[in-house]
């Protein structure tokens, strides 16, 4: 199971499918229940952002293995409007959805690694990794 699996996100139900995919993989990799919950929450947040701001996109989940270090990576991709001020959205307390959700800084804290790339009018790619301890 080294192949990444993806879920298209177009509506709220797809968020649930993405969560399910992530949870199954997290369980298989041996993540404990707290980390499972954190990973699925991160997936929820990223999928919700796609659904709310880009309209459509996809969430891909892949197991990773770097020099014997095992983990799980979430990649969120969309061709939406992009983020004009990345620094702003990465600030605590800055949420455009009126306090709903924890925002990207929250996702970053739930995971071990986090990176974001965004181009206005082209789209956004966010990748977040959690290592198995």
């Amino acid at each position: 199971m080294d192949i990444q699996s993806c879920v298209e996100v177009r509506n709220e139900w797809d968020i649930v499918s993405a969560r399910q995919l992530g949870r199954n993989m997290a369980k298989e990799l041996g993540f404990g229940n707290v980390d499972q919950a954190r990973i699925t929450t991160a997936i929820s947040e990223l999928a919700r952002n796609i659904y709310l701001y880009a309209g459509r996109g996809k969430i891909c989940i892949e197991p990773i293995n770097q020099l014997g270090k095992k983990g799980l990576r979430i990649v969120a991709l969309d061709n939406g409007p992009g983020i004009r001020e990345i620094r702003k959205v990465m600030e605590d307390g800055y949420t455009t959805s009126g306090g709903l959700g924890a925002g990207l800084p929250g996702v970053k804290r739930l995971m071990d690694e986090f990176s974001i790339e965004s181009t206005v009018d082209v789209g956004t790619e966010i990748s977040a990794t959690k290592w198995l301890r």
Partner: protein, 335 residues
Amino acid sequence: MTAKDALIERYQDLLSVYLKAKTETTLYKGQQFSRKLLEQQISPEDLVSLHIQVMDELFPDMSEEMRDSFDFLLESMIGYGFAYREHQSLRDKQQQLESEIEVAASMQQTLLLSDVPDFGELDIGVVSVPAKKMNGDYYNFVKSGNSLSVAVADIIGKGIPAALCMSMIKYAMDSLPEEQMKPHLLLENLNRVVEQNVNSNMFITMFHGVYEPESHKFYYAGAGHEPGFIYNAKEDKFNDLIAKGLVLGVSRSTTYHPYEKKIEVGDMVVLLSDGVTECRTSKGFIERDEIVSLIRKYMDLSSQKIVENVFQELDRLQGFELRDDFTLIILKRLV
């Protein structure tokens, strides 16, 4: 044993003791334990997970539903975990900002510090205290030739923006020509600097005066600054030291009116910022008369002692909570 294992063990002990005999003592210990959890930055969902682990060990035959309900609880706690971590990161940020402001404040102190000069026939006293960390009031003494110039300025507004602005004023003044300038001309000069460099929603009031010992005359001009007082020893009377003029930075072409006053032996010039007159007590703003009577009360002391005593009394009247930066200067002609 890792810190986490130790926590699990402790929690298991406490919980099993509590389940056996439901005593207030154990509950109290549980409450203290939560402090330890916070110290170690254990987030809410971690605690729930700890609970599940311990319950699994204590009750291996726990019903499926019960077990599953814990998983649901765990999932529901994640949001609180989010909030908890955000709180932590904001708190760290706040501490960082505070220490940066601390550094800026002490830097400002060094930058703006003006030595109170020894000036033979004038006894000078100064007190200048910021309401917050940084001071938006500014005073400056310059001895030039035989004469002494004194400036007091106040930014409308307080805190960091005011303090930054003040630093600019200081350097603008430092860069003015060496030779003694007439107060009204100096204000015109500064007004142009402020008008050009400072945001239009920020205003600066200023009083500037020059004392010439040969003629014993005090030349002065004001830019919307809180009027000071002048004490006439012969008549034993305090009068307002009025110097009319528009605040700095409103219009490029503002001109200022020159004033002058003869200072006799025993006379005093009192300069202040509006932090002095805007002292609020339980009875409302303090009246200028009250400031005069406070000065009168300590008039026989040295200028420095007068201003310190007046400040202490006003500080006490306000319950030691300054609302605005406070600057009070007294110049007394001795001989």
